[in-house]
């Protein structure tokens, strides 16, 4: 024991120093764009045009956030976003991992053909218009389910979960079977609990995808009552950009550069920053929460042993 310590006495210190230094660099570099966006979102719009905003706003204002929150249907849309994120994540993760479990069974007779069918979906897209017709024929236009069902099985996540299940000891499944558990029981009571780290990961992927999605609202569910937060924010951003060019003449014509009125102007740059923060903050919180499941895999050692 003593010799071991001697041999590696200084080495861990160097390793840790280098490691922490590099991680600090990563930290700084990845934190910067976010802080910069926050700074821009809190800076007066017209002033931002001048550039040079880095970590701190130069002319502080809440104006950008005010105009984000003043735009009509935000709260109802946020509610739809939360609903689709939760429902979409739960259903997608459950069914995707169920399929992953089935395809991880070596004896399953349709293993190969089903895998191919699912995997190939990652590599082609039929195109917007035929997909639109399909959704229309299924009477799913302007329904909440159009957010959930079409993308419910994710080939990528399925493969990720399946790979994880492959890493679990086969003996677990066998012993469950000997105890008389059916496939579904085995999946629910043995596999799912052991898969927590990977389920947390794919849940994060699905949740972020659901939360950030606006395109399906745009094409399939333009009805106001189904509008999502991202869609409303996108609308707001577009609106600001349009107002920026379209009304320039008007603004300048009526009051060229009048100091009082020009200040407090909302520009696309500043509104985009505020929108980004409003849209990202809720979903960013998901990850730290998921991280608790990243250690539960450790318990596996006990099971395995």
């Amino acid at each position: 024991m003593n010799t071991v310590k001697k041999r590696f006495g200084l080495e861990p210190v160097i390793f840790n120093t280098v490691n922490y230094f590099l991680l600090l660099c990563v930290l700084v570099v990845t934190l910067y764009p976010f802080l910069n966006t926050i700074a821009v979102s809190l800076n007066e719009g017209l002033d931002t045009t001048r550039g040079g905003i880095y970590l701190w706003p130069r002319e502080f204002t809440w104006k950008n956030y005010e105009s984000v929150f003043n735009s009509g249907h935000l709260f109802q849309a946020a509610w739809i976003s939360v609903a689709r994120t939760i429902a979409g994540t739960v259903l997608s993760v459950f069914f995707t991992s169920m399929l992953a479990y089935v395809l991880s069974r070596p004896e399953y007779m349709f293993k190969k053909s089903v895998t191919i069918i699912v995997v190939l979906t990652m590599y082609f897209s039929a195109g917007l218009i035929p997909s639109y017709f399909l959704i229309k024929d299924l009477h799913m236009l302007n329904t909440f389910w159009v957010y959930i069902i079409p993308g419910m099985i994710s080939a990528f996540n399925m493969i990720v979960v399946r790979t994880y299940i492959h890493g679990l000891p086969e003996a677990l499944v066998e012993s469950a079977k000997i105890d008389g558990a059916g496939e579904f029981r085995t999946f629910i009571s043995i596999i799912l609990p052991l898969c927590m780290p990977v389920l947390a990961t794919v849940s994060l992927f699905v949740a972020v995808g659901q939360w950030n999605s606006w395109f399906d609202t745009f094409i399939y569910a333009p009805k106001q009552s189904l509008s999502t937060l991202q869609y409303e924010l996108m609308k707001l951003l577009n609106n600001t950009m349009n107002a920026g060019t379209g009304n320039a003449a008007q603004a300048a014509g009526v009051n060229q550069g009048g100091r009082d009125s020009a200040a407090g102007m909302v520009t696309p740059l500043s509104i985009r920053a505020a929108i980004t923060i409003v849209a990202a903050l809720p979903i960013i919180m998901v990850y730290p929460f998921m991280q608790r499941y990243f250690v539960t895999g450790m318990q596996l050692g006990g099971v395995k042993g």
Partner: protein, 318 residues
């Protein structure tokens, strides 16, 4: 003859019988998977009739039967354009650079984070590193452009101070830097996000393996090399195979937002080409044709990579 036939008949019968038997014994697996497969087929495969558009000069508002059929004209337009090869080269180059950089940096970061023992520090760095994923490309490229500016960009500033260059470099106006800048931007935005999947995989490694290695006097590097890396190898291989299939997807937002006339010979990807000469000028069919081309290449690469993995005895996709 008769016997043979009879034997064959019996054989078939027996086969059918075994097949039925297997079918019955696997009924639960079948029940669990078939409805989901049906769903996949419905939403991904059924609309594939839309690919007929690639052989038409598609005009919205007409039914599929009233469209003008043009055979392979769309493909000809795509492949015969003199810049197609250039566009293909750019797509491949950027996609390979992104893939290699993406894999290496994400795995490295995952390994480095795994060596951090204080739980809070680890989680904090992890969380921060994935923040840029939530910024849109337009914001990220805006920051990239500002940082690379010759006016007061931080990159030129630092390089000047370090004495590495004598005058500011016009990064975004120089073709040879373009692929690298795109690669670096990708790493910046996605490294933390890409790390998540490896960190999850690391948790499945049996801790007793580390304990055993310590007993044997393995140092930290040996543990990383002999335990951690092999532990996440299946997921690395799987992701590699999947990504190889996406080799013609270098995207176009970054290239579009960072590109300009000066670097166009290096910045234009297939997707940008299709956008310019397809959608934007009202030719819907070109995008479908290009999509079909990409799918064919993807599937070939996918099966090839999968076969190689099979031969090497690695985790396989299919």
């Amino acid at each position: 003859m008769q016997d043979v036939k009879a034997a064959a008949a019996v054989g078939t019968e027996r086969k059918t019988a075994t097949f039925r038997k297997r079918l019955w014994s696997q009924r639960e697996l079948i029940l669990m998977s078939f409805p989901l497969v049906a769903l996949v087929i419905l939403f991904a495969y059924v609309p594939i009739w839309g690919w007929t558009m690639a052989f038409q000069q598609y005009r919205p508002g007409k039914s599929i039967f009233d469209q003008e059929w043009v055979g392979f004209d769309q493909f000809k337009f795509l492949f015969e354009d003199e810049i197609f090869l250039q566009v293909l080269r750019n797509t491949l180059a950027m996609s390979v650079i992104n893939m290699v950089l993406g894999f290496v940096t994400a795995i490295l970061l995952a390994l480095m984070l795994n060596e951090v023992k204080q739980k809070f520090t680890k989680r904090f760095i992890q969380t921060v590193s994935y923040l840029p994923h939530f910024l849109s490309w337009i914001i990220v490229t805006g920051i990239v452009a500002t940082s690379l500016s010759i006016e007061d960009g931080i990159v030129n500033d630092v390089l000047m101070r370090l004495g590495l260059i004598s005058e500011p470099i016009l990064w975004l106006g120089t073709p040879k830097y373009f692929w690298g800048i795109v690669g670096a931007s990708h790493v910046w935005k996605e490294v933390g996000w890409n790390t998540i999947i490896y960190l999850a995989a690391i948790t499945s490694i049996d801790p007793s393996l580390y304990e055993a290695a310590e007993m044997d006097g393995a140092n930290r590097y040996r543990k990383i090399y002999h335990i951690t890396l092999p532990g996440i190898r299946p997921i690395i291989v799987i992701l590699l195979i999947m990504n190889l299939g996406h080799i013609l997807e270098a995207g176009f937002e970054v290239q579009y937002l960072l590109g300009n006339g000066q670097v166009i010979d290096y910045s234009q990807t297939i997707d940008i080409f299709v956008l310019k000469y397809g959608l934007r000028i009202g030719n819907y069919s070109l995008a479908t044709a290009a999509g079909m081309f990409k799918t064919v290449i993807s599937i070939i690469l996918l099966f090839a990579a999968n076969n190689i993995a099979k031969r090497l005895g690695e985790e396989r996709l299919i």
